[in-house]
Each structure stands twice: as structure tokens, then as C-alpha cells.
């Protein structure tokens, strides 16, 4: 452990030991942001096609990890053409007024066993609330895979107005999943 604490110093000038890679380049085509809602008790999954994610993570210094994620809400695939049309409308995301959702991490803490927890404000449809998401870190060759989920309460963000406020048909809880595949930061990068 002690050796690991010294690694930040090592980073300043010395060659990087293999275990202390800082990952910083998200590969968008390998990454994904998905969600599962419950409609009349039926789990229905979807995903977002376009998002910009900046992730910096070094397993040797998880507390220094950072993530900024901006999701283009209109890129949603909500499971069917009919649903895609509905969810960008005024009762749901109202993408005309709120085109994107944004998450900025404020802290990352280790949970042990290759698991971590990231926390920070999520802004969606004009509402900002802190969310906390546990995630797992794995390496896959040169790449890092950060895999996590959290439960978002859609009504906290005003998502699903009017008749859609009825949580008996569409549950308030939406399971959000993310998987970021991250390459090592380019050498000499300031992050």
C-alpha cells in the first residue's frame, strides 16, 4: 500500500509502472449508457446513442478520479419508435428546452474488491440532484472497463409529467447503467 501512495510522485517524472496507468481516453463506440424502466411490471430497456464522456481514473489513486458526462437526450432509444417520440416531448425530457443531461463527479471513493463509488450532481430537465453510483473497475488488455449502475427516481427530475406521474404504470425508479471503456491517457496529457 505504501508503495502505491508514492506513485503520484513517480508520475511526476519517472516511467509509469504497468499497474499505475491513468486511464483518460473514453472510447465512445465501446462505451454505453443504458436504462431499464418498469412499465406495468415489465422491464423495458433502452439506451442513449450520443454522449460525451471525460473520464480520468487511476486505480492507484481512485480519489483523484473524475468524470464529466454529457448525454444528448434526443439520441434516446427507448425501446420502440412510439416511445422514442414520446420521451423527447414536453412530458418527459422536453429536449427542445433541455437538450442534454449532465453529470459532474465530485468524489470517487474505493469500496474494496475492485469496486468504487462515484458521487456528484446530475442535471436533468432543469433539476439538479446528487446521485451516487457504485461501479466496478476491470482491465481488458490495455483498456479499462468501468461498469456501474444506479437507481434514478425520474420524478425527482420532473421526468414524466401529467398522467405519466402515475408510478403504477411507469415506475418512478429507473435503473441506469453505464459502461465506459477507457484507454490510457495520452503520455504527456495534462490530466
Amino acid at each position: 500500500m505504501r508503495a502505491r501512495r508514492l506513485l503520484p510522485l513517480a508520475l511526476l517524472g519517472l516511467a509509469l509502472p504497468a499497474a499505475a496507468v491513468e486511464y483518460g481516453k473514453v472510447l465512445p463506440e465501446k462505451s454505453q449508457i443504458t436504462f431499464t424502466s418498469r412499465q406495468m411490471g415489465v422491464p423495458v430497456s433502452g439506451k442513449f446513442g450520443r454522449f460525451a464522456a471525460q473520464v480520468a481514473f487511476d486505480p492507484a489513486r481512485p480519489e483523484a478520479g473524475k468524470a464529466t458526462i454529457e448525454i444528448e437526450l434526443a439520441s434516446i432509444d427507448a425501446g420502440s419508435a412510439e416511445a422514442d417520440e414520446e420521451v423527447v416531448g414536453k412530458n418527459w425530457f422536453q429536449t427542445k428546452a433541455f437538450p442534454s443531461a449532465r453529470f459532474v463527479s465530485t468524489s470517487v471513493k474505493p469500496l474494496g474488491g475492485g469496486r468504487y463509488e462515484v458521487r456528484g450532481p446530475l442535471t436533468l430537465r432543469g433539476h439538479t440532484q446528487d446521485v451516487t453510483a457504485p461501479f466496478a473497475f476491470k482491465t481488458d488488455g490495455q483498456l479499462a472497463v468501468l461498469d456501474g449502475t444506479f437507481v434514478l427516481k425520474r420524478l425527482d427530475f420532473g421526468v414524466g409529467q401529467g398522467a405519466w406521474g402515475d408510478t403504477d404504470t411507469v415506475a418512478n425508479e429507473v435503473q441506469v447503467g453505464f459502461r465506459f471503456v477507457v484507454a490510457p491517457a495520452s503520455p504527456g496529457g495534462a490530466k
Binding site: V42, S80, A163
Partner: protein
């Protein structure tokens, strides 16, 4: 009941057969128009509810159809009236077989369609049915057409079935309808 059972050709349907026949009929009279109605609704919580109710009723029909067939194998139907011409008896038997087939394959096509469209079926919101096919837009649309075609076949056959039942009762004045609808029997006496 056990005495009736021993007879080769019972004179009436068992109460179980009668109960299942009408329960299935009621569920279909609910699910059928619901299917047509819900399809054209704009997306809303009601629409999701109607889809769920439609599927729950349809899956229930499927289970009751299996029960019915199981019951039927050990409890034969009463013989058709001697007075009926041969072709009518054959037609009646043939259409009954088709009806049994349809109340199995219509729910099956609906279930597969739902899976192909990416919506699992969860019976009464409690019992998830496995998705036997994966999400596949084209397959989903094909199965929707199959479901629709089968349903219009059912509509036609039930039309004939009901017309025949009424004709038996009002024109032939035999007991074909009353043995499936026992409360009509009193009027016969």
C-alpha cells in the same frame, strides 16, 4: 358425475367444460376489442395498461385452453343430434377443432410478437414469461400480422359458431345450445 363419465356418449357437457367454455369466451370478448382499440391509442399510461390487460387476458386464455383440452380428453363431448346431416356434424367438429387450435396459437403469436418487439410479457405483472425470441423488429412486425390474421380468422369462425348455435336453438329446436348454456333448458320443457 362419475356415472356420466362411464357412459360412452354423455348427454351434456360437464359443469367444468361449460364453465371453461364461457370463461374463455368472456376473456376473448374482452381481449379482442381491446386489441383493436389499444392499437390506435396515442401512447399514454392508459395505453400501457390496456396492453398489459390484453396480454394478461390472452395468456389466461392460453392456460385455460390447455386445461380445457386436458379436461376434454377425459370427458368426451355429448354426441350431436341424430337429426343433423352428416356434413353439419363434420363441420361442427372441424370448427371446434379449429377453435381449440386458435385459442392456443393466437396467444402464442401474441407472446412471441411481444418478445420480438422487445416487450416481455409479465402475467398479471407478477409472472414473467420467458422471451423465446430476441428483439427483432421485422419478426415483430411479421408476428403482428400473423396475430391479426389469426384473430380475423377467429372472428369469422366464432361468427359461424354463434350463428349455428342460435340456429340449433331457434330453428332446429334441439338441445345443442342448452347443453352448453344450461339455464336455457327450462324454457325447453
Amino acid at each position: 358425475m362419475s356415472r356420466e363419465h362411464e357412459l360412452k356418449a354423455p348427454v351434456s357437457y360437464t359443469p367444468v367444460a361449460i364453465g371453461l367454455h364461457w370463461l374463455v369466451a368472456l376473456l376473448i370478448f374482452f381481449a379482442w376489442p381491446m386489441g383493436v382499440y389499444m392499437h390506435d391509442l396515442p401512447l399514454s399510461p392508459q395505453k400501457l395498461q390496456y396492453y398489459a390487460w390484453h396480454k394478461w387476458a390472452g395468456v389466461t386464455v392460453f392456460l385455460l385452453a390447455i386445461l380445457r383440452l386436458a379436461w376434454r380428453t377425459s370427458h368426451p363431448a355429448p354426441a350431436l343430434p341424430e337429426a343433423m346431416p352428416r356434413w353439419q356434424r363434420q363441420a361442427a367438429t372441424g370448427l371446434h377443432h379449429l377453435l381449440y387450435l386458435l385459442i392456443l396459437v393466437i396467444p402464442l403469436s401474441g407472446w412471441l410478437m411481444s418478445s420480438a418487439k422487445g416487450f416481455q410479457t409479465v402475467w398479471f405483472g407478477l409472472v414473467p414469461l420467458p422471451d423465446l425470441v430476441g428483439k427483432d423488429k421485422e419478426l415483430g412486425e411479421l408476428l403482428e400480422e400473423v396475430h391479426e390474421a389469426l384473430n380475423f380468422t377467429l372472428l369469422g369462425i366464432v361468427g359461424v359458431h354463434v350463428a349455428a348455435a342460435i340456429k340449433h336453438h331457434l330453428v332446429d329446436r334441439d338441445d345443442v345450445l342448452s347443453r352448453m348454456l344450461p339455464f336455457l333448458r327450462r324454457r325447453e320443457n
